[in-house]
């Protein structure tokens, strides 16, 4: 292992983040506040409670997940796509580093940024609703694993993408629908039976369910299944990345 190289990549990527810190900080605060105004105050006042939790509080885990997933993907995909686009990838390919070190640097930085956004949203939520965290350890574990696995997915997208359009395509066409239909703003049990069945094919359901369980002890699916899902997803992403670097797919001619 080459820890100096991992740290160099990590710091270089984080520097990009710090250059736009105000933006990075303000946009999640603003969007979370908007969600609370729209879903919490306007719509939520008519929904009242879900399984004994106020609607405003109920959507917090989903909101955090929504942002963490999209941020992890966009940061990681941009992080590796940008060097490909501007040509600086030559340096990475000619450096004495292996794929694991490159992934640790890029994915680590992207996951850190997503974690930061997640924490900002959580803190912002405190100002709007009465938040309780019943299983803090599980909460942290879910948050970290989601940051990591979606940053890995973002890394794959960034390697695959051949244009900025493609870079936006997967998050927009696949991730956003899966997250919105994954129970961010409702309990799966509120759906008609057919849609409940369909929902169980959506992997995001398992993540949001598990994450919400760590807050309120409420879950759409058993917690063990949620852990298995996120673990399996992380493993799948790592396998794909290992294959990418083994074959040089889309990076090494």
């Amino acid at each position: 292992m080459n820890p100096t190289a991992i740290l160099a990549i990590y710091k270089f990527e984080m520097a990009r983040f710090f250059r736009t810190l105000t933006q990075s900080f303000l946009s999640p605060v603003l969007s979370t506040s908007l969600y609370f105004v729209v879903f919490g105050a306007a719509i939520g006042s008519r929904i009242d409670q879900v399984d004994g939790v106020s609607y405003g509080a109920f959507i917090v885990p989903g909101l955090v997940m929504l942002s963490v997933m999209t941020q992890a993907i966009s940061n990681a995909s941009f992080g590796i796509y940008f060097p490909k686009f501007i040509g600086t990838i030559y340096e990475l390919l000619s450096a004495p580093v292996n794929f694991l070190e490159i992934v640790c640097g890029y994915v680590g930085a992207a996951a850190t940024k997503a974690l930061f956004i997640g924490v900002v949203i959580l803190v912002t939520s405190y100002f709007f609703v009465d938040l309780q965290i019943q299983h803090p350890l599980a909460m942290v574990a879910f948050l970290l694993l989601t940051c990591l696995s979606f940053a890995l997915l973002g890394f794959i997208i960034g390697i695959w993408a051949g244009s900025f359009e493609q870079l936006q395509l997967v998050p927009l066409m696949v991730i956003t629908p899966l997250v919105f239909l994954g129970g961010s703003f409702y309990s799966i049990s509120m759906l008609p039976p057919v849609w409940q069945t369909i929902s169980y094919f959506n992997p995001v359901v398992y993540l949001i369910s598990g994450f919400r369980w760590s807050f309120y002890g409420l879950a759409d699916v058993p917690i063990g299944l949620s852990l298995l899902a996120i673990g399996g997803f992380t493993l799948a992403c790592m396998t794909v990345i290992w294959w990418i670097f083994k074959t040089g797919w889309r990076i090494r001619s």
Partner: protein, 312 residues
């Protein structure tokens, strides 16, 4: 001198079947400046990319100071610095940070004194806190060199370092290369400017269509391959070549005030003595005599033309 880079039967084919390198074998000597000359598309960049790890070789081996570039890639790549042909830099980062990043990426611990030294050497020290996109094109090329030197490589590849660069910067580049050589760095540069190879290289390799046509000491190459010309300035102005002087490879030059004779330095008899005797016998008056040696450019054009004719 011992070899620091040993390339053996290196081949590179692309998925579409194009063979960019057709079995290149080359030893690069420790501490030399080797210029790889060749037209566009000859395989110069592919050769460098393959050695540096950007492209995967199809077959053949490359060893850098004894380390195989595949099996022992960490040791091999640690010794190599690469300055790419295209300017590719993180636009919003500061000069000094991007150079520090390069050092870290190659696994070297932070060393501000060394970074300061190379930035000063490259006249970048005053610009160290500038954003890269605020730099001129020439400055950006210097940053690329600084990045390539950040991890103290023993071998430096410069891919077309002076393509599209103004004359002044080209001179600067040559000085930088000279200094690097003096500090013990082995330098391989690709170029299609003959004058560049002629000005700074110790040895010259000529590549065309994925094959290394020759590698030769620059002086030897010019001596061996070179045709020389002698220009005989006359006091008189001639309209025709006098019969006594009419022979192969003699022509009128300078509007009839001179005779130009081309001869081969490798021939047993150059024919110079005979020519000058005949000039005197014709009653012509010599004003001056000068000789000219053909440049690398002409040698190069001949070589590439031969290779293309052979292939056809």
């Amino acid at each position: 001198m011992s070899a620091i880079v040993e390339i053996n039967a290196l081949r590179k084919s692309y998925a579409d079947g194009f063979e960019a390198l057709k079995g290149v074998t080359l030893s690069i000597l420790d501490g030399e400046i080797l210029a790889l000359l060749g037209p566009n598309g000859a395989g110069k960049t592919t050769l460098i990319s393959t050695i540096c790890g950007i492209a995967q070789p199809t077959s053949g081996t490359v060893r850098v100071a004894g380390h195989d570039i595949i099996d022992d890639f960490r040791a091999a790549r640690s010794l190599i610095g690469l300055v790419p042909q295209e300017v590719a830099l993180e636009p919003f980062e500061k000069v000094i940070n991007t150079v520090r990043f390069s050092r870290g990426l190659f696994g070297k611990p932070r060393n501000d004194a060394y970074i300061e030294e190379i930035l000063k050497k490259l006249s970048l020290w005053d610009k160290r806190n500038n954003q890269i996109n605020a730099l001129s094109g020439g400055m950006k090329r210097r940053v690329l060199i600084a990045k390539a030197l950040a991890h103290e490589p023993r071998v430096l590849f410069l891919d077309e370092p002076t393509a599209g660069v103004d004359v002044e910067l080209r001179r600067d580049m040559w000085n930088i290369v000279d200094e690097l050589k003096a500090s013990g760095v082995t330098i391989i540069l690709t170029t299609h400017y003959i004058e560049e190879a002629e000005a700074i290289a110790d040895r010259v390799g000529v590549i065309a269509k994925g094959e290394l046509l020759l590698v030769e000491d620059k002086a030897t190459l010019m001596r061996q391959m070179g045709k020389k010309q002698i220009l005989v300035h006359l006091a008189e102005t001639l309209t025709d070549i006098p019969a006594a002087l009419d022979r192969d490879r003699v022509e009128l030059a300078e509007g009839g005030t001179a005779l130009l004779y081309t001869y081969d330095t490798r021939a047993d008899r150059t024919g110079i003595t005979q020519l000058l005797n005949d000039v005197a016998a014709s009653g012509l008056t010599l004003r001056d005599v000068e000789t000219r040696q053909s440049s690398l450019e002409e040698i190069f054009v001949d070589l590439v033309k031969d290779a293309q004719e052979d292939a056809a």
